[in-house]
Every structure is written in structure tokens, then in C-alpha cells.
């Protein structure tokens, strides 16, 4: 490494090593959640809708983990909740995909807008 680059590298390392503020986590999580919500609302394919739901769940996980690091009294409880949420999400995916398969078998489609038997 040329010595004249040394200060710049050091500067970069400082930035990386700096603690990321809580707002950073929250903003990323909010964006993830919004993308997930958007997708869940507008996509027609049921599998994609599931993926979007996963995205929302993970956004929530991210906030949990973030808060667990930044709140002094939390004592890492948020991370524990995150693990719980991951387990529940896995179970939910298993059930959900089974429903999607069953719907596909009976109706030959997985488009959510065509599944509207509960209409008025």
C-alpha cells in the first residue's frame, strides 16, 4: 500500500469501525417492511406474496435485534424474540406452502386475485 494512501485507508477503516447508529437499523428495517407490505398487497402470485411476508417478518426481526443492542436494560432479550419469530415464520411457511399447493390442485392457479370465494 503506498504510504500516501495510508491516511485515506485509515479514514475508511474509521468509518467502518464506527458504531452504526440505531436509526440506521430502523431505517433499513422500515424500508424492508415497506417493500414487503407493498409486495404482499400488489403481487398476484401467492408464492411471491409469501416471500414478501417473510421480508416483513425479517424487517421486524431486524428492529428487534437492533433494539436489543441499543437499549441498556434489554439485556439481549430482543435477540431471543428474534429466534422465536424465525421459528414461527418457518412453521408459517410450511403451512402456507401447503395451502398454496392445495389451492393449486383444486383451482389450477395460485393467483390470489382469483381466489375470492368469500366475496359478498
Amino acid at each position: 500500500m503506498p504510504p500516501q494512501l495510508q491516511p485515506y485507508v485509515q479514514q475508511g477503516l474509521d468509518v467502518v469501525n464506527q458504531t452504526i447508529p440505531l436509526e440506521g437499523y430502523l431505517i433499513v428495517a422500515a424500508i424492508m417492511f415497506a417493500i414487503g407490505a407493498w409486495g404482499a398487497l400488489i403481487r398476484r402470485n401467492a408464492v411471491v406474496v409469501f416471500m414478501c411476508i417473510e421480508l416483513m417478518i425479517n424487517a421486524v426481526n431486524l428492529t428487534l435485534v437492533g433494539f436489543s443492542d441499543y437499549l441498556p436494560g434489554a439485556d439481549g432479550a430482543g435477540a431471543g424474540y428474534a429466534v422465536l419469530v424465525i421459528a414461527v415464520a418457518a412453521a408459517e411457511v410450511a403451512v402456507g406452502l401447503a395451502i398454496v399447493l392445495a389451492v393449486y390442485r383444486s383451482r389450477k392457479t395460485v393467483n390470489v386475485d382469483e381466489i375470492n370465494l368469500m366475496k359478498w
Binding site: A30, I31, F33, A34, I35, A37, W38, G39, A40, L41, I42, R43, V49, V112, D113, I115, N116, L117, M118, K119, W120
Partner: protein, 656 residues
Amino acid sequence: MTSVGQQLIIAAIPVLPALVFVVLALFGRYLGESAQYVAIFGVATSLVFSAFSLYFVIRAQTPIDFAVNWIDLGPGGSFPMGIYVDGLAAVMLVVVCFVSLMIQLYSGAFMQDDSRFAWYYAVLNLFTASMLGLVVAPSFIELYVFWELVGLCSYLLIGHWFEKPSAAKAAQKAFIVTRIGDAALFVGIIMFWREAGTTSFQGITEAAQAGFIGGSLFTTAVILVFVGAIGKSAQFPLHVWLPDAMEGPTPVSALIHAATMVAAGVYLVARTYDIFVQSPAAMLVVAYIGGFTALMAATMALTKKDIKRVVAYSTVSQLGYMMLALGIGSYTAGIFHLYNHAFFKALLFLGAGSIIYAINSYNLTEMGGLRRRMPITFWTMVVAGLSLAGIFPLSGFWSKDAILAATYEQHFYVLYGMVLLTVFLTAFYIFRAIFMAFTGEPRSEGARNATESPGIMTGPMVLLALLSVVSGWVGIPALFGAPEGGFFERIVQPSALANETLALEGHEFSIALAIVSTIVALLGVGLAYLLYVREPERATSLARRFAPVYNFLDDGWYFDALYERVFVRPAMALGRATNVFDRRAIGGLVSGVGRGTGGIGERLRRLQTGGAQNYALFILLSVLVIGVIVGAQYTVLVIGLIALITLVTVAVGARL
């Protein structure tokens, strides 16, 4: 003190006919025309028991009085159900049972082949039971219960042939008109209860004596009670229902007029006499209403063509006598007249019924010449007519004369003039009816072919005719040397309190007054003979010459027309207005709310698309709105954040 056996016997008097009612109401359709035997057995037993009770009362010289607690309100007071039988009540019990028995015997033939024979007998017995219950009641509340039952039964019986619209109307009229009186009576009872804390006659009398109730409040309450009696006893101005009540079967008219219903009003005044005497104003009201009604109804009876209506108006008139007697303080004479009247009035109705049975018409102008064809009916009717007119020595004479004499001797000269005129009119109208029905030539095919009624009808008539002659003899004053002079007076006498309050001076039987009243009555009979037997054309020409007067009397002084204008039509208009208001305003409001809700639902159901994503969208939007509201203090921050998120989402999502 009364033994348990005596208590049971007296309690059985009203209970037996009530029991008969239950049996006949439940099993009447299986019994058919055998229902009459059940009924007659019940009433005959009651009659025997009431004879016992009369004997008990005469022997013991004290009233039979016992009660059980019915409603106990603790400190709020209590309402006992009890029985109080003194001489007055015992005499009434015997009269009611006897007349009812005669009428039930008679009805067996009269009501033959009626489609509701058993029901007729059932109600007849309930009627008798209610009246007997009313007679033995010791308190206003108990009396009121039976009072209403009497009204109900009269409604059912007057409307027995309810297929006829006029009968259905008459039943309603009777019920509604007497209801006016009943309402007043009830208000009176409440006033007494409020002030005296009890509804027993004894208790109220004592409270009034002790001064707990007094003044105008007391007088008002007494007069309200009297209005109840006016309604039931068909006194002016609530007399309009009684003539219309002739739409019922004739034996029912006999029962209503002789023993039950109309007697109830007079009996109420007699029963509460100790209360009445403490209000001189109320007594005067009673006397003048009675005297006026006597005269008014007698004039109305003069021109009637319906034989039953003649007799009906005569009842109104005779009840007026009784009220008058009670009002002027001549208690014994009033009750004596009630007792005599029961027999001859029942007989008059049964006689009229016998004619109706024979020729199937009420109309006097379609009768005539029935004397030879129906001799028993004729002679019994003549006996009843003479008794009603007050001819010596028939029963009606003794009581009527006692009333007249008392009116004169207590210086009510106006009233005396009125009743003396009534005596004349009474004799005239009843013999007008008898002469028109029985003498001359038959005026219709039915009258030509008439035959005497069967023995089961004439039997009770003969028995009643016998009583119409002799029933008054128990009250013959001692002057005539009868061994039991003034027997009736000793059984039925006003209480010591009433005597003291009224402070009447006693009078000897006055032969002069008796002769005057008999002559006046004979004049009435003579005039009727002159006009309807000797020169029947004279009567019609007189009616034509005085047509306005004739119509005025024939339409009952236009009372019906007046009430129609003043009360019935406004009430009907109010009813119609209420009906329209109910249907348009209230009904419109209610169904409008219903329709509005339905319409909103119809629009909102479009929101239920069945698409899960739509629902999710709503949820999201709602959360956002909640977020905005909750975060109102950081409005700018929150809105900015949401806008940012939305923008980014759109930006990213558009690619997805």
C-alpha cells in the same frame, strides 16, 4: 263467633256457582244440553246454603265476619279476602240465588237448541258467583274484583248472540258505559285507601268518624264511589246502556235487572251506607239523582214499542226509587224495594220472554189478544204489573209506599211530587204494555198461532208470581196487626252510627199517604185501560198530535244522540287521528330506520371483495391513519416518514 262449619257453608255460596262455571267452561261441549242440570244443582245448593246463612244471621243477631290475608305489603298495609254477612247481605244472597235458580230453570226451555248452550249456562253461573262474591265482600278491593267480574259477565251475556251486530254493539256499549262508573269507583277507592290506609268498609267508616278523612276530599271520594253505583245501576246520566242491553237473551235481562248487575250499584251504596251518611252532600246527590232518574226513565218507558224496553226502562226507574230511598236516609225501605223488585221484575222479564218464545217478536204492535192463548203468562204478568204499580196488598205496594211516605215525611216535597208522578206513569206504562200484548185482536200471524209456553218456563213464573204477591208481607208494618210486624226491618236495619248521624224521627205508617199513592197508581192503570182497551184509536191520534213530545220520549230524551255527538264522535275522531299518526309517523320512522340501514348495508357490501389483499390493504391504511393520529404531536416527522416509506416502496416495488 262463627263456627268453622258456618264459615264453610257461607264461603261455599259464591264458590259453588264459580265451580259450576269451571266445569261447564271445560267440559260444556261434552255435556251439551245436560249442562243445565249441573248448573241448577250448583245454584240450588247455593240457595239452600244462603237460607242457612240468613238463619244464622237472624239467630245470632250479629254479622258473620271472617277473613284471610290475601296480599300483605308489610308496613304498606294489607288486603284481606274475607266474608262479611249481615242481614242485608244475607237477604241479598237469598234473593240472588233464588232469582238465579228460577232463571236457570226457565232458560232450559228458552235457550233450547242454542249453539252455545253450555257456555251460556257457564257464564250465567259466573255471573251469579260474581254477584254473590260482591254481596259478601267486606272491603272495597274485594268488592271491586267481583264488581269487574259482574261487568265482564254482563258483557258476555248481552253479547251472547254476537252474530247479530246490534247485540255485539249493545254488549260493547254496556261494557264501556259501566266502565266510566268503574273508573270513578276505583279512583274513589284509591282516595279512601290513601287517606285511611285501609279499604275495608269498617276501617274507612272509623277513619271518617275519627276525622282522618273529611271535608271536600271525603265528599269527593264518596261521590266517586256513587258514580260507580250510577254506572252499574244505570242511573242518570249513565243509564243509556241498560235499554240496549235488551239485545241479550231475555232470561239474561231478567237476571241483570232483578238480581245481579244493576242491583250491585244499589247494594254498593247500602253496603257503604255508614260512609255515605257522613257526607250530607253526597246523600243529597244520591237522593236527587235517584228521584230524577225515576221520573225520567218512567217517561221514556211510555212510548216504547219493544216490550222488553218498556220493562228495561221500568228497571231504571225503580232503581231510581231505591237510590232515592237510600239518599233520604230511608235505608230499610230502599233495600226492601230492591228485594221486592227482584221478584216482580224477574217475573216481568220471564213473562216477556214467554211471549217472545211464543210469537218470536219483541214488538208490542205485533201482539194482541194473547190473553186466551197464554193464560198463565197473562195472569202472572198482571200480578207482576200490579206489584210494580204498587197496588195494595201486593209486595210492590209495601216497599214503594214506604219510600213515598219517607220522602214526604222528611220534607222532600219536590222529590215527593216527582215520585208520585212516577207512580202514575209506572202504572200507566206497564199496563199499556200488558193491555197491548194481551187484549184486543191479534195483530200478526204469530200472535194468532201463539200457544202457552212449556211447564219448565211457566213453573218458575208461577212461583215468582206467588212471591210478587207475598214477598212484601214480611215488611208489613205492625199497624196491621201482623204477628211479625216489621220483620224485615229487624233483619235489615241501618247501623247505630247511621241512625245517629241521620237523626231521623220515626213515623207511624200513614194510611193517608198509602191511599194517595194507591189511588194515583189506579188512575194510571185506568188511563191505560181507557187508551189501549176501550179506545185504541185515541192513543194513536194522541201520539200523532203530540208528535214532537212522542219522539222526544221514544228516543229516550235524545240522550243517545247527545252522547253520540259529544263523546262518541270526538273519541272516534281521536282514535282515527291516533291511528294515522301511529301508522305514518311512528311506523314511518321505524321502517325508515330499517330501510336506511338496509340501504347502507347494500352499498357497503361491495367492500367485501373476498380478496385477501384488499383486506390487508385496509388494515395497512388503518394502521397508518392510527399512526398519524397517535403521532399527532410529531406530525411533520410522522408524515415525512410515511411519505418517505411510501416513496421508497413505490420506487422499489415498481421494479418487483
